[in-house]
Symmetry: C2
Subunit: 144 residues, 2 copies
């Protein structure tokens, strides 16, 4: 399961992507509209800023805004930032690779093989799920 942090981050990003022409958006207004505890959201937005997805402006008229294109921000990257590896086993991850202690031979491990398929399918879908795509899809679903 996604952590609340990752989930909140996705909601905040969609929120900002929708309003990307409106200039800086207040933390407090995101928190209120998306039902996220404000102090918790502050930490999340800071992480997204450090990661280069968002930028902020201090003082009156300040707030957060997207600096990446909504087509370049995808669910896989957000999940990795907050929850770490996406895969179910450390031996099939790319960035967070670790050997399984109990594993005798990784190359011929049938369990690994199964979970590698899962990981690849998952990452493919999540990479394709950009902010732009999610917003687009939402509009399409509303028309049905």
């Amino acid at each position: 399961m996604l952590s609340k942090k990752a989930k909140y981050a996705i909601h905040a990003l969609i929120h900002l992507a929708r309003r990307k022409e409106d200039g800086p958006i207040l933390i407090s207004s995101i928190a209120e509209e998306e039902n996220i505890p404000q102090k918790f959201l502050e930490a999340i937005l800071l992480d997204l800023k450090k990661d280069g997805v968002l930028a902020s402006k201090k003082g009156k008229g300040g707030g957060y805004y997207l600096i990446k294109d909504p087509e370049e921000v995808n669910m896989a990257d957000v999940m990795r930032l907050f929850d770490g590896a996406i895969a179910f086993l450390p031996c099939v991850t790319h960035k967070y690779y670790e050997r399984c202690e109990e594993c005798k031979d990784e190359e011929t491990c049938g369990i690994r093989d199964a979970f590698l398929q899962v990981r690849n399918a998952t990452v493919d879908i999540l990479k394709a799920s950009t902010l732009a795509k999610v917003i687009e899809r939402e509009a399409a679903l509303k028309k049905e």
Copy 2:
């Protein structure tokens, strides 16, 4: 990530599936060969027994053995037994469904739509990954 419990369970099941003609296998021998803390493994095997995958025999000559066909035991079921839902969001699971608190309209939620695709792809692969298939695949990888 899989919990250790789920991981140990999979290893124990593969171990038992490989030796399904050998009669009851000792907990202690599974624990030793698969590098699993014995007391921890006892609880895991008990869960698998309650779930109807394994049976046990007490006393001398006792141990655990598979009662389901290795082709009928798949990774999805094992994961659900020990770790609960497979999906990343409660609103896209089947058995463990729950509404997302912050969600305004589930039917048109673009985030849900993305994670539903992930869940479906994941479950399809995990359901196809039976003990028999994992063992088979392992043999194939060894021949390469």
